[in-house]
C-alpha cells in the first residue's frame, strides 16, 4: 500500500480486489515486457555493480583501473571508514533541502491548486511558470547562480554593505550555496505532486469544517493537510532521493568546494579520476541501501496518521 503514495491521488481505491482470478495467465503475459525491461535495465546493471564492488586489485600485475573478480568485502569497510563524513553530509544536505523545498512549495502549490481554481487561465499560467525553469538546462541554471553569488556580484556586495557578511566572507563554495542550489533545483519536483493533491481537494470538506466551528487553522491541520499528504510524501521522496545522490550542486565546478563534497562527488572522483571502480561501486551500493532504509521507514510511517 505504501507506494500508493506515489500516485498523488487521495482517492485511489484498491481495484484489484474486484478483479476476477482467472485472468492470471493474461496478467502474467502483460507483465512480461515490464519484467523483461526491469531485469535487463535494472537487475543486470545492479548485479554487475555488486560484482564490481567486491573486486580486488590484480595480484599479478598492478595497474590503475585493473581489477579482478574476488570477494573483497573489505572494500565496503574501507569506503565507509574513509567517506562516512561525506555520507552523513549528503543526507544532511538532502534533508535540509527537502524541508526548505517543502516550505517554499506547499504555499505555492496551495495558491495554484486552491486559490486559483476560479481562474483557470491564471492557474495554467502559474503552473507553466513552475515548470518554466526546465526549459533551460539545469547545468546552466546552476552555473548562473554561481555567477549571481560570486564575490564581486550584487548579492555578496549588498550583504557586505548590510554587514550581514564579513568583508572576507563569500557565498560560493559554502554549504549555504550547495543547499540553496539543491533546494532551488528540486522545488518543481516538490510543487507538482503537492499541487496534484491539492487540486483535487474537495472544498466542501473545508466548508464543512467551518460549519462545525473549526477555526481556519484547525480546518487546515485536520482536513486540508491530511488530504494533501500523499502529494507531500511523493514530493519529498522525489526531492530527497535524487538530492542525496546529487553531484552537480556540490561539485567544485559548480556551487561547492573541497569541504562540501557529497557522496556523488566521491563516487565520481573514484570512478572517473582514480579509476577505483570497486570503491565507487561499493559507495553506490551503500548509498542505495541507506536510501532504501530511510525511504522505507518514512513511507511506512507516513502511511499512517502518526505523522501528525
Amino acid at each position: 500500500m505504501a507506494f500508493g503514495a506515489f500516485g498523488g491521488s487521495p482517492a485511489t481505491t484498491p481495484a484489484s480486489d474486484a478483479a476476477p482470478r482467472r485472468g492470471g495467465l493474461i496478467a502474467l503475459f502483460l507483465l512480461l515486457p515490464g519484467a523483461a525491461y526491469l531485469s535487463l535495465f535494472f537487475l543486470v546493471p545492479l548485479v554487475s555493480l555488486i560484482l564490481t564492488s567486491f573486486q580486488a586489485v590484480d595480484p599479478n600485475a598492478f595497474e590503475i583501473g585493473k581489477f579482478v573478480y574476488a570477494f573483497q568485502w573489505q572494500n565496503y569497510v574501507d569506503v565507509v571508514t574513509t567517506y562516512w563524513p561525506h555520507i552523513l553530509r549528503s543526507f544532511g544536505y538532502a534533508a535540509l533541502a527537502t524541508v526548505l523545498a517543502l516550505l517554499f512549495s506547499y504555499p505555492l502549490a496551495y495558491v495554484i491548486g486552491v486559490k486559483l481554481r476560479r481562474f483557470p487561465l491564471l492557474q495554467a499560467l502559474a503552473l507553466t511558470l513552475v515548470i518554466a525553469p526546465f526549459f533551460i538546462s539545469f547545468l546552466l541554471r546552476t552555473l548562473a547562480w554561481k555567477q549571481i553569488f560570486s564575490d564581486e556580484g550584487v548579492v555578496v556586495t549588498a550583504l557586505q554593505a548590510l554587514s550581514l557578511l564579513g568583508p572576507a566572507d563569500h557565498l560560493t563554495g559554502t554549504p549555504f550555496s550547495v543547499i540553496f542550489g539543491l533546494t532551488y533545483n528540486f522545488i518543481p519536483f516538490m510543487t507538482l505532486p503537492i499541487y496534484t493533491s491539492l487540486e483535487r481537494l474537495d472544498l466542501r470538506y473545508v466548508e464543512a469544517g467551518g460549519d462545525l466551528y473549526a477555526s481556519p487553522a484547525s480546518t487546515f491541520l485536520r482536513v486540508t493537510l491530511p488530504l494533501s499528504l500523499p502529494g507531500v510524501v511523493s514530493g519529498t521522496l522525489l526531492t530527497f532521493i535524487p538530492a542525496s545522490g546529487d553531484y552537480i550542486n556540490a561539485s567544485r565546478d559548480f556551487l561547492g568546494s573541497t569541504d562540501t563534497a557529497m557522496i556523488g562527488n566521491v563516487i565520481e572522483a573514484n570512478f572517473l579520476q582514480l579509476q577505483n571502480y570497486p570503491a565507487a561501486a561499493a559507495l553506490s551500493i551503500v548509498l542505495m541501501a541507506v536510501i532504501l532504509v530511510l525511504v522505507g521507514a518514512y513511507v511506512r510511517r507516513s502511511g499512517t496518521e502518526d505523522l501528525l
Binding site: S39, S48, T52, N60, F62, Y69, S257, T258
Partner: protein, 402 residues
C-alpha cells in the same frame, strides 16, 4: 581427437587465432545463458594482463582516418572548417573525420579502456592525449609503434622533447601542442603581481586563490618551489611535502577553487584573483574579456606538458595516421595551427614560418618559448602505476576533504 596443427607458421598462427576467437565467442554465449551474473562478467574487461596485439594496417586500400582531439585545438575558420586539415585531405586523398571527443584524459580513458585491453577499435585511428596518460597507454601496450619512414618530418621535433621519460626516442608518440602551467593574476586587483608560488599563500589573498585540479601541474609547481626537480627521480617524501603545503592551504581556506577547465570562470567573475593557470588560456581570456590578466612562470620553475599523437592498438589506419602526423610536422603547417590555437608548437622552424603570418605572434613566449623560458620549465616525470595510484589518491583526498 583434434587434427594436428599445420607446419607452416603463418597458417599455424591463423588457426590458433581462429581458435581463440571461437573460444571467446563460446564463453560469451555461455555467459549470456548462464544468467545475469555471467553476462555482467562477459561484458566487463577481461582480467588477463597480457598486452593486446596490433590490428592489421589497411591504409593502402582504405583511405580514411579518424582523429580524436580536444576542443578548440585545431585551426578553424568562421564556417567551422579546418583549413590545414582540408588542405591535407585535398593533398593526400585521405578522408579525415575530425572528432572533438576528448575533454578529459581520465574520462576518455574510461570510455575506451575496455576496447583497448581487447585490442579492438576505439573509434579513432589517432588521438591526442597528455604526457602522463600517454605514459599509461605505452606501459600497457595500448599503442602501435610509429614507423619513422612514414614520418620524415619527425626530424623537426624540438630536441628537448625527443627523449622524454615515458617514451625515449619517441617510438610511440609525437607531441601535438603543449603549454605551461604557471602563475596568473588579475592586474587590476593585484597590481604588484606574483613572483613565486609562495606569494599565493599571502594573507591578503585568503579565499581568492585558485589552483588546477591537474595534480601534476599544481603539485609540480609547489614541488619546484621547494627546489625539487619534477623531471628528476624525486621521492615519495618530496611529493608528500608539497602535498602537505597544498592540503594546509586548502584546509585553511586560502585556496578556495581547485578546478579543471572551468577555472577561467572564476578568473572572469573575480572569485579568483591569483591562480595557478595554463598559459594558452590566459591569452584567450585576455582577448575575450578585456586585457586584465597576466601570466608568468614562477621563480621556482614552471611545468611543461604536451598533448601527443598516439595510434591506438586497434586502429587499422596506422599509415594514414602517420601521413597526417608527418603533414603537421611541416613548419609552415605547424605555424598556421599555432597562430590559431595559441599553444606551444613542438615543430622547429615554425617560428620562422610564423614571421610571414604574424611577426608579433612569433615573439610570443607562450607559443614560441626561447631558450631562457624553456630553461625555467620542467616536464613532470613518468610515474609508475603504484606511484600514480598513491599520489592521485592522496591528491583527490584533499579535493574531497577526506
Amino acid at each position: 581427437m583434434p587434427r594436428p596443427l599445420p607446419d607452416d607458421p603463418m597458417i599455424r598462427s591463423l588457426v590458433l587465432q581462429a581458435r581463440r576467437a571461437q573460444m571467446s565467442r563460446r564463453a560469451v554465449l555461455a555467459g549470456a545463458t548462464g544468467g545475469a551474473a555471467a553476462l555482467a562478467l562477459a561484458a566487463c574487461a577481461p582480467g588477463g594482463s597480457t598486452a593486446p596485439t596490433a590490428a592489421p594496417d589497411e591504409s593502402d586500400t582504405d583511405k580514411t582516418l579518424r582523429w580524436a582531439n580536444w576542443p578548440a585545438y585545431l585551426d578553424e575558420d568562421d564556417d567551422g572548417n579546418h583549413p590545414t586539415l582540408d588542405a591535407f585531405i585535398a593533398q593526400t586523398g585521405i578522408d579525415v573525420s575530425y572528432l572533438v571527443d576528448v575533454d578529459d584524459n581520465n574520462t576518455y580513458y574510461g570510455k575506451v579502456k575496455d576496447q583497448l585491453a581487447l585490442g579492438q577499435d576505439i573509434g579513432a585511428d589517432t588521438v591526442c592525449l597528455t604526457d602522463w596518460m600517454v605514459n599509461r597507454w605505452i606501459r600497457l601496450g595500448y599503442t602501435q609503434e610509429l614507423d619513422d619512414a612514414n614520418i620524415p618530418n619527425k626530424k623537426n621535433l624540438a630536441p628537448e622533447l625527443v627523449d622524454v621519460s615515458f617514451d625515449p626516442g619517441r617510438k610511440f608518440s609525437l607531441p601535438w601542442q603543449g603549454g605551461f602551467a604557471g602563475l596568473a593574476w588579475n592586474k587590476e586587483k593585484v597590481p604588484a603581481g606574483l613572483e613565486s608560488v609562495s606569494d599565493l599563500w599571502k594573507p591578503e589573498f585568503k579565499g581568492r586563490v585558485g589552483v588546477l585540479s591537474e595534480m601534476r601541474d599544481t603539485i609540480g609547481l609547489i614541488m619546484s618551489e621547494q627546489g625539487v626537480d619534477i623531471s628528476g627521480d624525486f621521492s615519495e617524501d618530496q611529493f608528500q611535502a608539497a602535498l602537505d603545503v597544498f592540503r594546509q592551504n586548502v584546509e585553511s581556506g586560502q585556496i578556495r577553487n581547485v578546478k579543471g577547465n572551468s577555472y577561467l570562470d572564476d578568473l572572469t567573475n573575480e572569485d579568483t584573483l591569483v591562480a595557478i593557470a595554463w598559459s594558452g588560456d590566459i591569452s584567450v581570456i585576455n582577448a575575450e574579456a578585456g586585457d586584465k590578466w597576466q601570466f608568468a612562470i614562477p621563480s621556482g620553475g614552471g611545468a611543461l606538458w604536451n598533448d601527443n599523437f598516439l595510434i591506438p592498438i586497434g586502429s587499422t589506419h596506422k599509415k594514414n595516421a602517420e601521413t597526417l602526423i608527418d603533414y603537421y610536422y611541416q613548419p609552415e603547417v605547424a605555424a598556421e595551427v599555432a597562430a590559431w590555437v595559441n599553444y606551444i608548437t613542438p615543430v622547429v622552424g615554425a617560428k620562422e614560418a610564423m614571421m610571414d603570418i604574424d611577426p608579433e605572434l612569433a615573439e610570443d613566449q607562450g607559443i614560441f618559448p626561447d631558450e631562457e623560458t624553456l630553461s625555467k620549465v620542467k616536464v613532470f616525470r613518468a610515474l609508475s602505476a603504484a606511484e600514480e595510484q598513491s599520489f592521485s589518491t592522496a591528491f583527490q583526498g584533499v579535493l574531497l576533504g577526506a
